[in-house]
């Protein structure tokens, strides 16, 4: 049965991939990419990787689609015909694909218990998490505690990506504070957005603080927060959204998240532990781990929210008439 689901999902992924290559309308391609992400999220659920699935659904199918649509709105929505014959790229893709498939022949089978990835540190993580960290979700314990350095690096990467987009796109303040086209016509959308906005933000808080126990955590929560605000901006216009969260504030928040993360590390050094060694944060090591994980997850979500919104503001503020 599970094989059947796998085959159907992979088949749909392949069809979507071919459609993306063949279709010239970039708006359709953006929507197809969203479908592709949603299908991969479903595939991750089948593989029992619910944390990854949540991230893929929120980022791939949610935010990145909106950003792609905003980009298409800035440029043309028709793909230009290629100027060269596609023979050389076809050859390169074919050669790379063959090499990759050849490489998979040496890989262990899926689910093989003797595979190196299950023999290295994974067993120690699975074995020690309940007594050292005391959270049921091992993904969170690996991400936030055992591999805290890596996650700090990832958050810094997100921060620098946001700073890069900010440097490239800049930000234009508008002279006229547009309230969006056709106030009257958006009435249904606005009422529903108002109805769902608190629920979306509540769900983001749930994902953030429930990350120890179920799928979720700082990254996913940050993206869900950002989607909530983007929904508000879509329904009520960018001007109103900026009254809720001004661009100035976002630029500060973007760095504050990383600073909270690093500060937790430095605090644990001051208390006599190593950098990001949470167990010294409280009297009881397990409580310390809980506290540390919670604090850095909050930091991660602040940075992710701010960066997503900055990228969105950056794209949308460049549109002259549109009110994406």
């Amino acid at each position: 049965m599970e094989h059947l689901i796998d085959i159907v999902l992979l088949g749909l992924l392949m069809i979507t991939g071919f459609a993306i290559v063949r279709i010239r309308s970039l708006l359709a391609v953006a929507m197809l990419t969203s479908i592709y992400s949603l299908l991969s999220a479903a595939l991750f659920v089948v593989l029992d990787a619910v944390d990854v699935a949540l991230t893929e659904a929120a980022i791939g199918a949610g935010i990145s689609t909106i950003l792609m649509l905003a980009t298409v709105a800035l440029t043309s929505d028709e793909e230009k015909a290629p100027r060269h014959t596609p023979l050389l790229p076809l050859f390169v893709v074919f050669a790379t694909g063959t090499a990759l498939i050849y490489g998979t022949l040496d890989m262990p089978h899926y689910g093989d218990p003797a595979a190196p990835i299950h023999q290295h540190v994974a067993q120690a993580y699975l074995h020690d998490t309940p007594k050292e960290i005391g959270v049921p979700n091992v993904v969170t314990s690996v991400l936030a505690s055992y591999r805290g350095y890596d996650t700090l690096g990832e958050v810094t990467v997100i921060l620098s990506a946001g700073a890069g987009v900010l440097a490239l796109l800049g930000y234009r303040t508008r002279r006229r504070n547009s309230r969006g086209p056709g106030n009257r016509k958006l009435v249904v959308l606005r009422i529903i957005a108002k109805l769902f906005l608190p629920l979306i933000l509540l769900f983001a808080l749930y994902v953030l603080f429930h990350g120890d126990y179920g799928p979720g955590g700082g990254f996913q929560a940050g993206v869900i927060f950002a989607t909530g605000f983007i929904l508000y901006a879509l329904a009520f216009g960018l001007g109103n959204a900026q009254r809720v969260i001004p661009h100035r504030l976002l630029r500060i928040l973007m760095a504050v998240g990383v600073l909270i993360y690093a500060a937790v590390g430095i605090e644990s050094m001051l208390l006599g532990g190593k950098f990001l060694e949470y167990r010294v944060l409280a009297d009881d090591p397990v409580t310390g781990q809980h506290l540390g994980i919670m604090l850095i997850e909050v930091g991660v979500s602040i940075t992710v929210t701010a960066v997503m919104l900055i990228i969105y503001y950056g794209f949308v503020s460049r549109q002259h008439s549109g009110d994406m």
Binding site: P181, G182, V188, L189, I192, L195, F196
Partner: protein
Amino acid sequence: MALVVDVLSWICLLGGGLFLLIGALGVLRLPDFYTRLHAVSICDTLGAGLVLVGLMLQGGLSLVTVKLLLMFYFMIFTGPTAVHALAEAALQGKLKPVVDECEPQ
């Protein structure tokens, strides 16, 4: 009792599947954008809604049912809103609906 619930749930599941099929056919076969939207909205509300109700009956009184109920409410609100927003956008983009040419004078 269990049999009745099971039969009801399967009726809902199959009915939902049927409506999804009808909606998909409609998206493929109907002549213009607005009528296709009509087909999509059937998928969204009746199709997915009936499937969710069927699953709720299968779940019984448990946390799963509560979650499914939340999903149901979410679908009921967002589906028609999305279709409405699409139709509104198409109208603003000056997309004319196809009308029957031999309509009565």
